[in-house]
Subunit: 114 residues, 2 copies
């Protein structure tokens, strides 16, 4: 259920958001954008959850892949709708993942050795 | 509702997880750990949501602050409970945030200029 990513380094886009009131068009566009993102060169995976706020973290091979996705024509249209109608607030953070571990990795042992 | 962070660079710990079956002790410990994290030197903020999976992103001044929090005695005990009882799976990614913008920043214009 969690996305698998290759060994670091790679990049993460951390998108946190607060939605406006429900708009049925939002879910349709969100699903379309998720599918389109997955088809982009350099896309590595995505995790998403929404409760009081939404958090979507997408993983990318490098910054060029992130920039290309940001400038994709269909995505630009979705971004504009997001700013005008769907989101009350959002934050986007672009980060370089340098270290990653999982339940299987016994992180206490690994952390100190890296 | 979204956490505010200072200008980059800073660090993010992206914690994604799938829980085991409900354990009432989990929520108590999760709240305790969130409060304790906020009291640590170098803590900058935290965003959290759980739907099918849980995503918690905490923000930190530098890697030393992350390492100190990881090794905090009470947190080590919680980590052990997490591995043994609470989580079916988790991933932890430590990342350096190099760029951040929000709804107010008109991201299209900023992105190209950076």
């Amino acid at each position: 259920m969690l996305t698998s990513t290759p060994s670091p380094p790679y990049y993460a886009v951390i998108f946190t958001s607060v939605r406006q009131d429900d708009d049925p068009a939002y879910e349709t566009m969100a699903e379309k954008m998720a599918l389109l993102a997955k088809a982009q060169p350099g896309f590595l995976g995505m995790d998403s959850a929404r409760q009081d706020i939404g958090i979507t973290v997408s993983y990318w091979r490098n910054e060029a892949a992130i920039k290309a996705w940001k400038q994709h024509t269909d995505h630009l249209a979705a971004q504009q709708m997001g700013r005008k109608r769907w989101y009350r607030d959002y934050q986007i953070r672009v980060a370089r993942v340098g270290r990653a571990y999982s339940l299987q990795d016994r992180p206490d042992m690994l952390f100190d050795g890296r």
